[in-house]
Subunit: 227 residues, 2 copies
Amino acid sequence: MPMRSRLRERVAADITLSDEPGKTMRKWREEIGIFQYDLSKEMNVSPSVISDYESGRRPSPGIKTVRRIVDALMRLDELSGGKFSKEYEGVENEGILDIKEFPVGIPADIFVKEIDGVSVAENVPPANNVNGYTILDSLKVITGMSSADYHKIYGWSSQRALIFVGVKFGRSPMVAIRAHPLKPAMVVYVRPERVDPLAVKLAELEKVCLVRTELEVTKLVERLSRL
Amino acid sequence: MPMRSRLRERVAADITLSDEPGKTMRKWREEIGIFQYDLSKEMNVSPSVISDYESGRRPSPGIKTVRRIVDALMRLDELSGGKFSKEYEGVENEGILDIKEFPVGIPADIFVKEIDGVSVAENVPPANNVNGYTILDSLKVITGMSSADYHKIYGWSSQRALIFVGVKFGRSPMVAIRAHPLKPAMVVYVRPERVDPLAVKLAELEKVCLVRTELEVTKLVERLSRL
DNA sequence: GGACATGTTCGTTGATTGCCGATGTGGATT
DNA sequence: AATCCACATCGGCAATCAACGAACATGTCC
């Protein structure tokens, strides 16, 4: 239900961090092109409430209020054809199949259980929390990504699971991880042919926990999306 | 003073939009790796305050509070070597020299005055507000940018000023604008040799106001940064 | 002038926040 | 068992927010 668009986040951050949140709220309302009245009706409040915020009488609204406002703005934009939200979709990257952040961290063991995962490396301290995941086409990542783009894999949190599909033995992904300065909390191989002992050794060296799963990718995405 | 990093915005949005802001706050504090105590000292409050938020007793903190927390987190990360904030800098794009959003919209006429601009096109309704600007190297934009990346120029608001440097007659930039579905509110040419009448005509057709300035780029950036 | 449309200002009321300090807890360490 | 450490819990008070509705201001279009 809580749709996660970049626009939504951007507007929320802009208001939250503004010195004059009221004026920032107004900026976005006007940019989207709706009236105080309509916004207030969408939120089920009286129009004066909007005006009070925008004119600065309430200089530090609660985040619940900000959220209601942002979501109302998004809905109204959607109704009028979503001219706005559609403009702000990011460009997709070839090798990255999916990338998400969790609003709250998830304990590693629960994450593993949820994807029917089996731990492969042993000498790894039980990872704490997983804050997000990235699903990668391992071939495309290795062949087709410029080194400058590598950090994109890590999204907003390095404490994440990197999920590789199209893995044969799992050597190259671990080598790539070894080479990169940022380390994930967890690496997942989806239906690998088998797992090379070297990959395991590298995982232990880097202290990332290495997991394999036999789930299909589609199934995997579905499971992850209801976390 | 208010530093504008992508990480900062991301954390702010994440907390503001979270169903459980407390848990989200905790997620980030732990990810950065600091204790409640240290965070509280950085904010000059007692440690129980942090705990109260994180444990959810205060489910809708004001944005002033969120801001203080986020900024304290950023400062603490900076102190410990900025491991975090540095990871999240975006990749630079060749043709884009600078791109910023204003927290509140700025009336177009004030914007023009601020950069010693002179209006060139006439039959254009006085633009409303300018919400941000992008400074572009006109040559590189035309030769070196893939069409998929074009939307990046518009950042977060299409109601913005596109500022072109390295302009000869100003034909190609206007042609490019004509071709693209998104239109800026204003186009600025920095020290053009002269302005082609066709460029003016296109500007009038597209209803974007066209401005020239004789300011140096460095000077321009400086002026814009204190808006 | 009159009738809308859009937005502002303000007094008020109840709910919630912001903050503190004291006290409690569960786990390491010694 | 004694002592930290990191954090949770709670009562309580002042400050602020959330929301309403009525009155007020400006435009602008007959």
